[in-house]
């Protein structure tokens, strides 16, 4: 087979295009940029019920994503779910009376941890614990309570 400079160029272009495609997938179509983790610090919070929260679920404050859940474990002594969160270290000004709650995005959306700052002067540091938490709302429970209440009001 004869080889010409044009052929070399075409092979070069092909390889470049293929690599560009893979890069496009990695950086434009996936969460790779989220892996390029800036500095983070870790907070933990105990919840009575972590609902459908999963590792990698977002942590947000005022609707803005500021970190993600890194691990969820069960504490067999207190029967609580221990949620460990990685928070971007740009956002290191949460006071120690911050409330962590598990919310659902929309009716069927995914669950996320919402942080709401309190008024204390002391800020949370790496490895600190958030004391005030609010568990996930379990839809079945809420419906059950509503039905019981409705039945009681009828009597």
């Amino acid at each position: 087979m004869s080889h010409t400079p044009t052929q070399d160029t075409l092979v070069g272009l092909f390889v470049a295009a293929g690599i560009a495609g893979l890069f496009f997938l990695a950086f434009h179509a996936s969460n790779l940029s989220a892996y390029a983790e800036h500095d983070i610090y870790t907070l933990t919070a105990r919840f009575e019920n972590s609902g459908g929260l999963k590792a990698k679920s977002p942590v947000s404050a005022a609707g803005v994503k500021i970190g993600q859940v890194s691990a969820i474990t069960f504490d067999p002594k207190t029967y609580d779910a221990v949620v460990e969160m990685h928070i971007d270290s740009h956002y290191n000004t949460f006071p120690d009376d911050t409330t962590a709650s598990i919310f659902t995005a929309g009716l069927l959306g995914e669950q996320y941890v919402n942080l709401e700052a309190g008024g204390s002067e002391i800020m949370l540091k790496d490895q600190d614990k958030i004391e005030i938490t609010q568990s996930a709302i379990i839809l079945e429970k809420a419906i059950g309570q509503f039905l019981f209440k409705a039945a009681e009001e009828k009597k």
């Binding site: 052929q7 075409l10 092979v11 092909f14 390889v15 295009a17 893979l22 990695a26 996936s30």
Partner: protein, 260 residues
């Protein structure tokens, strides 16, 4: 009855013998890859005929597959008011499944059949034996560069297929159907995981490249050296490649996306 049993026996033995020859061939090829490195010219020529010449069919098919996915997905998702997830749906199906699988099938049809025909014809015209006479190992000189080229080209083609498919989906989704452009990309970027989706997709395409190129080269090398033999070998390449790709895809998917 006895005749049928005999036929079954000979078919089974033939199948196992072929598998054995194929494995030996693969081992020889793998050990011959080292000799390609000092001769990049050989690899470059093969990358041209395997990769560059498959470029057009892969990109055009990718574009249309992405556009159709977007169209079909939109009609289903809009029933649930979830058009915003269109990008996620298109990207997930392309990156995880359609990119590697469809491009491997196209690759087997476009490049695999050409490889088989080329090598089968070399065998039929005794070019391979001629090389051996001149103390040139045809495995090192002919087979190994083609094998390496297939292995390199396949993941690149699959990546291109997925990337162009996602762009095609966006073209139809936000251009034609009025899905919000930001939602298309944002949902995709939030949910497509680099490790779980993209890297696994690339692993799949490398596996498919390995298998389809192996089958194509071996069928050519093992072909009966007649016109009919080469034609049959070419058909077997496409059929066996398709079976292996789809079967392997099931196994790989079960292994990769089992939990979570």
């Amino acid at each position: 009855m006895i005749e049928q049993l005999e036929l079954l026996g000979s078919l089974t033995r033939g199948g196992f013998a072929k598998l054995g020859r194929g494995t030996r061939f693969l081992l020889q090829t793998l050990s011959g890859i080292g000799s390609v490195i000092p001769r990049p010219r050989l690899l470059l020529n093969q990358l041209y005929s395997v990769g560059v010449l498959s470029f057009l069919i892969i990109t055009i098919s990718g574009l249309f597959v992405g556009m159709v996915l977007s169209l079909q997905g939109y009609y289903t998702l809009s029933d649930f008011g979830a058009e915003a997830s269109l990008g996620l749906m298109v990207a997930t199906s392309l990156v995880r499944e359609l990119g590697p699988v469809v491009s491997a099938l196209l690759f087997a049809g476009r490049a695999g059949s050409a490889l088989t025909a080329e090598i089968g014809l070399m065998k039929a015209t005794e070019q391979l034996s001629g090389m051996e006479m001149m103390a040139v190992d045809p495995i090192q000189r002919i087979i190994a560069p083609r094998f390496l080229a297939g292995l390199i080209a396949m993941p690149l083609l699959a990546g291109l297929f997925s990337a162009i498919g996602i762009l095609g989906g966006q073209l139809v989704g936000s251009g034609l159907l009025g899905v919000d452009d930001g939602a298309y990309w944002a949902q995709m970027q939030a949910k497509i995981d680099f490790q779980d989706d993209i890297v696994n997709g690339i692993i799949k395409s490398i596996t498919f490249g390995f298998v389809t190129t192996w089958i194509a080269l071996f069928e050519g090398y093992d072909a009966t050296p007649t016109a009919e033999g080469v034609s049959r070998a070419t058909t077997r390449t496409v059929v066996n490649s398709a079976f292996s790709v789809l079967g392997l895809d099931f196994i790989l998917t079960a292994l990769m996306f089992g939990d979570d």
